[in-house]
């Protein structure tokens, strides 16, 4: 899967935001804020990547510190799919 490039990543202070542009404004009148991990995943989604690969890469970065990583990533990606922020390639 890959991210929808009509969403533009911006930041205010330490907050990361995704802003819909073009036709995506029809689906979302507002913006999305991401935490640091969400922002990292958004960068990974610039290229085609699976949920499993995302989990592996996050484990490389965070080690085994983050509990429920598989479940959290799955929930997050499902949210992004639901909001048309990512799509299957």
């Amino acid at each position: 899967m890959k991210r929808n490039e009509t969403f533009v990543k911006k930041s205010v202070g330490e907050k990361t935001l995704l802003i819909p542009t073009g036709s995506s404004v029809k689906h979302m009148h507002g913006l999305i804020t991401l935490n640091a991990t969400g922002s990292l995943i958004w960068e990974m989604l610039a290229s085609d990547i699976s949920k499993e690969e995302i989990v592996l890469r996050l484990k490389e970065i965070y080690g085994d510190k983050q509990k429920n990583l598989v479940q959290d990533v799955s929930t997050f990606i499902d949210q992004l799919l639901q909001m048309h922020l990512v799509h299957d390639v």
Binding site: I19, V25, I32, T33, V73
Partner: protein, 341 residues
């Protein structure tokens, strides 16, 4: 990992405050033109005769690009009347690709089905239409233009036909305040929110205006506020902010006028720097410095027991007294009435 904004307004407020701490120009207003097809007596611009030179679309796009590079996210396009520019879409379409939350302010009278269709292809986040009355007679008494009431209604309907996120606001004057309930009903019938404003400022070019004949009395205005739960919240929070003024103008927001001059806000024509000449970064730095150097309220205001309820700011003082800090008698009465309620 993602935080869905259930409460959008508080999130935006928090972003503005965070941006102010960082000195980030997160919100900008582009006044594309001073020209307007209506002639409202109370308008603070109302320049139908001799409008300022206007930037070309390429210049607006350059400004937007540079502002975006420096952190602009919330962009308002306003006038005058934005759709009075024949090249509006040459300005607008490129902006929709740059990652801004765009709001369009318009009187709606020039929005045809074709224009609504073009907007729907690249929709703004929101369109805010000003409604000047609930009847042809009142609306056109305010705007001075026969036929404008029907055109406004057609424009609103065209936006609705194309599912463009819209809302209404009204500027209350002595000419239309009696139709507030009817305007609320109209908005309700369209399924649109209606926000109201009644604090009218004088013309910013210093020309004589009909403001004294248009403004509501402080008694009427404050009694309307009390009937509006959102306004009550505003009154309750009015003490937040720095010494000189309570909004975030010059700290996380700016305005650029039709000829490209960057100022604190639409009502205070300072510092009047030109980002196209000196670069956006230097222009924003000048705006922030000007803001930091603004004087605190006068000693009279600082001693006033109603200060917490007063909307005075340097722009109000400048407009009414030519200074940046003097008390504004109209606002003094409003503050006193707010406290007494």
């Amino acid at each position: 990992m993602s935080e869905t904004a259930i409460q959008y307004a508080p999130l935006v407020r928090a972003l503005f405050n965070d941006a102010a701490k960082q000195g980030q120009p997160v919100a900008g207003t582009f006044e594309l033109t001073e020209s307007c097809n209506l002639s409202c007596g109370m308008c603070y611009i109302r320049n139908n005769g001799n409008p300022h030179p206007e930037l070309k679309p390429a210049s607006w796009n350059q400004l937007a690009q540079e502002a975006g590079d420096h952190g602009l996210i919330f962009l308002i396009l306003t006038g005058g009347e934005i759709f009075s520019r024949n090249d509006f879409f040459e300005i607008y379409i490129p902006l929709t690709k740059m990652g801004f939350i765009i709001t369009l302010l318009t009187n709606g009278t020039l929005i045809s089905e074709t224009i609504a269709e073009r907007l729907a292809d690249n929709p703004p986040n929101h369109v805010e239409i000003t409604l000047y009355g609930a009847s042809k007679r009142t609306y056109e008494k305010v705007t001075g233009v026969p036929g404008s009431f029907e055109k406004c209604q057609r424009g609103i309907q065209a936006l609705l036909n194309h599912d463009i996120s819209s809302g209404l606001k009204t500027t209350l004057t002595r000419l239309n305040v009696h139709e507030l309930s009817a305007m609320k009903k109209m908005a309700n019938n369209w399924g649109l929110p209606l926000i109201t404003g009644w604090l009218l400022m004088k013309r910013r070019d210093g020309s004589s205006s009909d403001i004294d004949q248009s403004r509501l009395s402080s008694e009427t205005g404050v009694s309307l506020e009390l009937a509006d739960s959102r306004a009550k919240n505003v009154i309750g929070n009015i003490t937040e902010g720095i010494n000189s003024h309570k909004c975030l103008a010059g700290r996380s927001s700016f305005t650029i006028g039709p000829s490209g001059a960057m100022n604190l806000c639409s009502h205070l024509p300072f510092p009047g720097v030109h980002p196209l000449n000196i670069g956006f970064k230097a222009a924003w730095k000048s705006v922030r410095q000007y803001t930091a150097d603004l004087p605190p309220p006068s000693s009279t205001c600082l001693k006033c027991e109603y200060l917490d309820y007063c909307p005075r700011c340097p722009a109000w003082s400048f407009s009414e007294t030519g200074t940046l800090k003097a008390p504004v008698p109209y606002l003094c009465r409003i503050a006193r009435l707010r406290k007494m309620q």
